[in-house]
């Protein structure tokens, strides 16, 4: 089974809340990106797609701030930071 980032976003939509944030929690450094596609293949919420052989953040509003992309990128082309307080991913388990 393979799933495209767009299909993945459809599947997880509505299953968590992201309070709009100003901070760009993940960013692709275009000059560094080698287009390997790991971020797009592995991001569990479909934030990335590959366009013209470069990774692109296409759905930042889905990002759960886990840092997976930042760690799997083999060339260090992705930056990661937490957002300003009171924003971003929140869960209400109870």
């Amino acid at each position: 089974m393979k799933i495209t980032p767009a299909e993945l976003r459809e599947k997880v939509k509505g299953l968590y809340e992201v309070i709009p944030r100003e901070t760009e929690v993940v960013k692709v450094l275009k000059e560094e990106c080698n287009g390997c596609g790991k971020c797009a293949d592995l991001c569990p919420v479909g934030v990335y797609e590959i366009n013209e052989k470069k990774a692109e953040v296409v759905a930042i509003e889905f990002c759960q701030e886990c840092g997976l992309c930042y760690h799997v990128c083999p060339v260090g082309a992705i930056t990661f930071t937490y957002p300003e307080g009171g924003t971003g991913i929140v869960y209400k388990w109870a």
Binding site: M1, K2, I3, L8, K11, V12, L15, Y16, T23, D41, L42, C43, P44, V45, Q64, E65, C66, G67, L68, Y70, H71, V72, F80, T81, Y82, P83, E84, G85, G86, G88, I89, V90, Y91, K92, W93, A94
Partner: protein, 427 residues
Amino acid sequence: MNYDVIVVGAGPAGSVAAKLCADKGLKTLLLEMGREPGEKNCSGTTIPLFNLYEDFPWINDPEMPITRNVYSNTHYWVFPDGERWFKTEAVGGVVTPPRAVNVYRDLWDPWLASKAMDAGAELRKSTTVWDVIKEGDAVCGVVTHTGEKIRSGVVIAADGLNSMVSIKAGLRDKRRVDEYGVCVKYDFESTPEHIEVAFNMADGQVANESWYGGTWSSGRTGYCWLFPNYDSISVGLFTLLSDLKENPFVLMQRFLEHPLVKTKLKGAKPRYYSVRNLNSCKNGVDKTCADGIMAVGDAAGFTCVVEGCGIPAALWSGKFAAETAIDAIASGDVSYSGLKAYETKWKNSFIARDMAGSKKTSDWLYKTVGAEGIGLFIQHAIEGWMLKHGWSEGGHDDACRSLMEDFIQSQLPRYLKLYGSLYEEGV
């Protein structure tokens, strides 16, 4: 100076550290980026209670928000065809206190943070720390997302897995990919009646379930879990990032397709989906203290990978850091030489033994057990076997380690035989 101690992050490590510092009269500030502690956190979530109440009597509080008492663990071993399985069960009666409790982090974390506030710590929510203040090499405060600078004698980095504070303070660099695992977790809404049947609770027994093998482990490492809450089921998957060849979401869907899992989740609806990293400690623990700063819990890399469990290490390292901060501030030396007692404390505790044990297990597996399929099974057998005995003996450190030695030397051949024959006969 604004505060004696600033603790960054109101998870289990941070709230314990802040409470214990405030108990001794230190002026303590606890900073949390969520609007409430716990709202940005997810875990399994099971909190093992071994020895917890002895060292943290105040945690033994009837008000603690729990979703189920847990008395034992059931392990399902699924063969590479993804369907056939057998199970092993830890024997554990219904006891008081229970061996573990399941909780929701958005209720449990605020409850724990309230203990710090009751002790006199100040909690500031919706505040992200983006940098540290340094004088020379010494850390002497933090910078928040609004640019506000707050100074303190000691900073305790309790900011979890991706600890930005440890990186800014120079305790470590970005971790390598082979030092991380990833978890995806669903919360399935169900009913208490269905859960009691699906998890065989007829005699009051409650067991968490770990599921090993199958087709959802990408590469050699990984497992899934089903933890019963009162009216929901936590369904998670853990695998190492360096082994990851497929999207964790896809691996999770395969687990959800297992016939028995389907039965257990019958009528249940996913209401939450979450993703978080987990430390794998493969290359050992980072530097945990320097002038003016200590890192605790996940921020320091303390997760027992063998058991996938980080809350005990978070609680105890928070305690060790608080004790160290109290002494260092009293003696007027918050440089590395005043804080290095923290290192000694955790190195002499179960934390270091767990880290060494995790590393030993993974080194041994990677070097000794070459063949992927069987290697997968053995790792899970070891984890499960240790968990089982660790649980029933109520130990989490020495007991587990010596059991592992014993397992490798004497039990492994038996497991291999068992695996072979079960696989041939079919289950």
